[in-house]
Symmetry: C2
Subunit: 229 residues, 2 copies
DNA sequence: CAGATAAGTGTACATAATATACTTATTGAT
DNA sequence: ATCAATAAGTATATTATGTACACTTATCTG
């Protein structure tokens, strides 16, 4: 019998914890919440939930991000499994996922419901359990990913300016980038379309909007070229 | 009560599957076994086991590698969690770990016991469940890691020749490397010590043995230099 | 119309990656 | 003893990439 082999093994709680990232005020922001129940009631926490037996762990993460943001158009990637015995009060294996969302699509009514808020990544409070470690691992992973894949655009609105895009990369890598070098590199890839319209909210001169052309990117990749910031 | 919040949630089986890698015949080898029980009895499988409630997932992986190789001096890193609903017959979340071992330390008596054998990574058969995917993800991860960390030495004996080291990197990256460029780069890092002794098993001239000096590497890293192949 | 502000632009230099061919040490066979 | 065979070992030139650096331009406001 199939079950015979498994029967005497332990079963554990399995959770997903989501590092939900948005871009706002020229900085990466992460959605965190005040935990409304014990254990660690009142502590700052990532958005999480338990994995049900009928859903994959990816589906669970997508569900959790949807529940807490109202957004289902997200970039989602697994950070890894966190499984120290004492990471929670009960024995819970948690699988970390980071999500990149367009913060403009955030359903703000949910912020009140869950006592959740966007906090700049440089100003995060200490989080409960191993959640701070999850954020640290995520930033590491994001830095490696963003260097070789155009995932940053998932954090922006469809139209964005080059100064905004540069701020995004500066926030991801936590260091300043020379704007001439940045523009040279990003424009040389030939995956952005310059629009006629300007954004004048942050300067008198205004900065031209650009658009990421996914089709062109896919085509270049197929030709063996590679994205690299 | 703490348990109240968790109580109505599903518990799942959690396993670890280990991609145990050795280096032999100038190629990466992976330890696989013929599965002795249902489901998928007789199929080729990675080395795995269930996570017990009293051990961390890292500990579980280390235990499994020890059980199947007799080696406890290993480099271990998590590949990620695999959680499709139908990845096994029962609902089992599996966490993949790859291990780099010195294949000379392998306890060969265990090979018979578990019907396990070392197979070249280029000649792996189709594995059961999602194990082939785990191997693919591992090779990817290993390629990125080996480029920036000297983890390859975990696969070699303490003394090794430069031609052997080069073969190792060629096997990891699955392409040929020019030996002049390779030697220039690896020696420039100044983390290898040349020994007086030669290995004459593969040529009449013989190749000098070298040794990896971890202390020197650690020192260089502390000074902000970085390893890069 | 002058001043303020951020957007936008080009070149020179340094570093790193890549391509390329001959010499040397040693053993085994004659 | 000499030669043939084999893999180990070695240096340089070229190209590509990354980095450093300062002035001009468009537009709004007062």
């Amino acid at each position: 019998m199939t079950e015979a082999f498994y029967n005497n093994k332990d079963k554990l709680y399995v959770a997903v914890d989501c590092i939900i990232m948005g871009f706002q005020d020229n900085e990466l922001n992460i959605l965190i919440a005040k935990r409304p129940f014990e254990p660690m009631k009142g502590g700052w926490s990532l958005m999480g939930g338990f994995v049900n037996s009928f859903e994959s762990i990816n589906e669970a993460a997508k569900r959790v991000v949807g529940e807490f943001t109202g957004i289902d158009d997200i970039y989602l990637e697994q950070v890894g499994a966190f499984g120290e015995v004492d990471r929670d009060l009960e024995r819970v294996i948690s699988i970390g996922y980071y999500a990149l969302v367009d913060i403009e699509k955030f359903d703000t009514s949910l912020a009140a419901k869950y006592d959740a808020r966007w906090v700049r990544i440089t100003q995060l409070p200490e989080l409960i359990f191993d959640h701070s470690l999850m954020v640290k691992d995520t930033l590491n992973l994001l830095q490696r990913r963003a260097a070789v894949k155009p995932i940053g655009f998932n954090l922006l609105q469809e139209k964005f300016t080059l100064p905004t895009l540069q701020s995004l990369y500066e926030s991801i890598y936590q260091n300043a980038i020379d704007k001439r070098n940045f523009r040279k590199k990003i424009l040389a890839m030939d995956i952005l379309e310059k629009l006629d319209e300007k954004d004048k909210t942050s300067s008198r001169k205004g900065a031209f909007y650009y658009r990421f052309i996914k089709e062109k990117y896919d085509q270049l990749i197929q030709q063996g070229l590679n994205f690299s910031i």
